[in-house]
């Protein structure tokens, strides 16, 4: 066991604050926002990582030498590791694809229901089964 004391370790924390307010309206709370974050991470991003067969770990905390995604309650934390640039770009494409698809949701208020939300988020990326498809879908979404 070694202590990670690399001062150059960095992570990006991203959140869905604006989207959460569209989903929950005046019923916004810390609890439902955290639930939305966790759903996007588990049912969207993690599933896509698995579909693509990428070696992205999911551990709490930060300071890891390899890339890592973790739920941080109000945010999702992405620690940027020392992998090759191509792999890091694939992670970025994958997270971007989920976010682009979420931005296209026509009726965000319907996602306030946890069951509907789970099904919807899973459906966003369920058909994206490999890395080639991720790149293609992302390009199509960005070209719109």
């Amino acid at each position: 066991m070694t202590v990670s004391d690399d001062p150059k370790t960095c992570y990006v924390a991203f959140n869905y604050e604006e989207f959460a307010n569209q989903v929950f309206g005046v019923a916004i709370s810390d609890e439902n926002t955290a639930s939305l974050n966790l759903g996007i991470l588990n049912d969207g991003i993690r599933k896509l990582v698995a579909n693509a067969g990428l070696p992205l770990s999911m551990r709490q905390s930060f300071g890891f030498p390899v890339s890592n995604l973790g739920d941080a309650y109000k945010t999702i934390r992405f620690t940027i590791g020392i992998e090759e640039e191509d792999l890091l770009r694939q992670y970025v494409a994958l997270i971007t694809l989920v976010n682009v698809k979420l931005s296209e949701v026509a009726a965000p208020t319907e996602l306030a229901d946890p069951g509907k939300r789970k099904l919807f988020i899973e459906g966003l990326t369920g058909s994206v089964a490999d890395l080639t498809r991720i790149g293609k879908e992302l390009q199509e979404a960005l070209d719109k």
Partner: protein, 142 residues
């Protein structure tokens, strides 16, 4: 962003935009979202429609950012904004039950229809009944 006020978790900022407009941000740090939203709404309502009658639109779904004409965001208007934000926090204990009872996504407060503000409008200022009740409670204390 330039700071209008930053003390005890109340953060008020203004950022000049093109076309003689200002983006005003209203935030309350270290509070849960279920408190922050009513505080932002009451502050905007009190400062922009009750203390003064400013042209404004709501520029994000968090109801954190409001766009107003620069010439209306005078020093006195900024002082009113600070005062109302502080009053909102002081009366939070009275505001929250009113929000639970009256605040809905419908029942909007009218905002400006000025053409130069239109492109900045993202959503409405909700909860007219809640805001009227909250403001009455705040002003009842003199």
């Amino acid at each position: 962003m330039s700071s209008i006020y930053n003390l005890n978790g109340i953060v008020l900022e203004a950022d000049p935009l093109d076309g003689a407009l200002e983006a005003v941000e209203i935030d309350f740090l270290a509070r849960p979202r279920e408190h922050v939203l009513p505080l932002r709404l009451v502050t905007a309502y009190g400062a922009f429609t009750q203390r003064r009658s400013l042209d404004f639109v709501v520029a994000d779904h968090q109801r954190k950012t409001y766009v107003v004409p620069s010439d209306q965001l005078t020093r006195a208007a900024r002082e009113d904004l600070v005062d109302v934000a502080r009053l909102a926090v002081q009366h939070l204990g009275e505001i929250l039950p009113l929000a639970a009872e009256l605040l809905t996504d419908d029942d909007p407060v009218p905002t400006s229809d000025r053409p130069d503000l239109a492109s900045h409008q993202v959503t409405a200022l909700p909860g007219k009944a809640f805001l009227e009740a909250a403001w009455a409670r705040i002003t009842a204390h003199g």
